[in-house]
Subunit: 248 residues, 2 copies
């Protein structure tokens, strides 16, 4: 999974040149050589650096664009993309405020602990068998009403600053926080949707009838190099769920 985002440590001579260039650019972006929103070198400069033609560099960058890693802007340059999927629950849920407009739910961390993750989370984060991890219990609110309940697991390594941060300071969006405080950039994520039934706790939290259907979203978030940074599962009322797909 996410193989195309994993850069080869040893650039493979058997691969086409544009693939090697692409892989090296991914490696450099993952290594923080250019921060999100920053411009990478011009196509001409890269062509010289890698000793290939501009056309080959263009093909490499075409792939980075397709992968969502960079964006091009004619006349300005090519920029490392800052992914923003703290709003991505909107893919699945349609939340409206009382006044009717779509709205970004407020985030609130209720609890934080250092604990041993269950096997699913441990495997997703590729942790050693008895490693502990940071666990956050978080809710998302619209008009003060809980619409999503989330359980979030983070490896200790790389996320130490979060272990001390005051809970109210977590704010509404976590991924910008990861980047600002921990230097960890979420580049891609993989999600699995299933339908479950609300137990008593979740039903009370979401103010729905016990046993009514809920959507459960499991997400693993990765950095540019394909390393798992976060595992979470989110639960919301199925009544608010709607999802559209294009098939071809």
């Amino acid at each position: 999974m996410n193989n195309r985002l994993v850069s080869a440590e040893a650039p493979d001579d058997r691969l086409p040149r544009y693939q090697q260039v692409r892989d090296d650019l991914v490696r450099r972006i993952a290594g923080g050589e250019w921060a999100p929103e920053q411009a990478i070198p011009t196509e001409a400069a890269l062509a010289q650096t890698y000793a290939v033609s501009v056309g080959t560099v263009r093909k490499a960058i075409d792939q980075l664009v397709a992968d969502g890693i960079v964006t091009r802007s004619q006349g300005r340059g090519t920029f490392v993309r800052r992914p923003r999927f703290d709003t991505s629950m909107f893919r699945f849920f349609r939340f409206k405020s009382r006044s009717g407009e779509p709205v970004l739910p407020v985030g609130r961390v209720l609890r934080r602990e250092l604990a041993a993750p269950d096997e699913t989370a441990r495997a997703a984060l590729r942790l050693a068998p008895r490693d502990k991890a940071i666990h956050l219990s978080r809710v998302r609110l619209v008009d003060g009403q809980t619409v999503i309940a989330e359980e979030i697991w983070l490896p200790r390594e790389g996320f130490e600053p979060l272990a001390k941060l005051a809970l109210p300071d977590f704010g509404d969006l976590l991924y910008p926080l990861y980047e600002r405080l921990c230097g960890q950039v979420v580049a891609t994520a993989s999600e699995t949707l299933t339908v479950g039934q609300a137990d008593a706790d979740i039903a009370a939290l979401l103010r729905i009838a016990p046993a009514s259907p809920i959507i459960v979203v499991h997400r693993t978030a990765f950095d540019f190099a394909g390393k798992p940074l976060e595992w979470r599962f989110s639960r919301g009322a199925a009544a608010a769920f709607q999802y559209e797909v294009e098939i071809r």
Copy 2:
């Protein structure tokens, strides 16, 4: 929706050449000039036909590949892709036979009528206000047990042969039937997922408890030119539902 698949009737001179070539190829494929699984002309031949360089043709074909309209095969040629999404419910549901392997459900048409579609179906098929349409009630079975119930609407125009076909002759897969009997090729589709509750009828059909959660999939299927060919909605037990997405 599906704008990128709709070919301009008048090729726009302001567009890049590779876009014009792409649009014309879509138009010709939609017009049936090359059937699914057939090869389109070679890149060199197309370059001559359109009086552009091979590189420009390649860029046009790159887009058709990205759109899922053709596939390339090195050394063999470029072929019109035959979309196969009668299996696409597997995107959403995981059905296993009694023996445990994943299995393609059997299809059975229970009922057929010529009737006025409801407003949703009418709008999806872009029919005139009082047009009638072909309505099929269909179930999908695994080991003799109904796992999905489907209501399908088709425009009369283009699907006349289906109005007379004996119900058992519909077979398991409808889209190959549309192509064989009616010359209609489904190229893309757009689906919307929601969660509902089983009413008494559906609960009995699916053998689940009344009011238990069901997944409702609304689908509009389009031909290569972006014309809607079919509108359907499918209902299955939410317990069998699972869906994975990659985000970037």
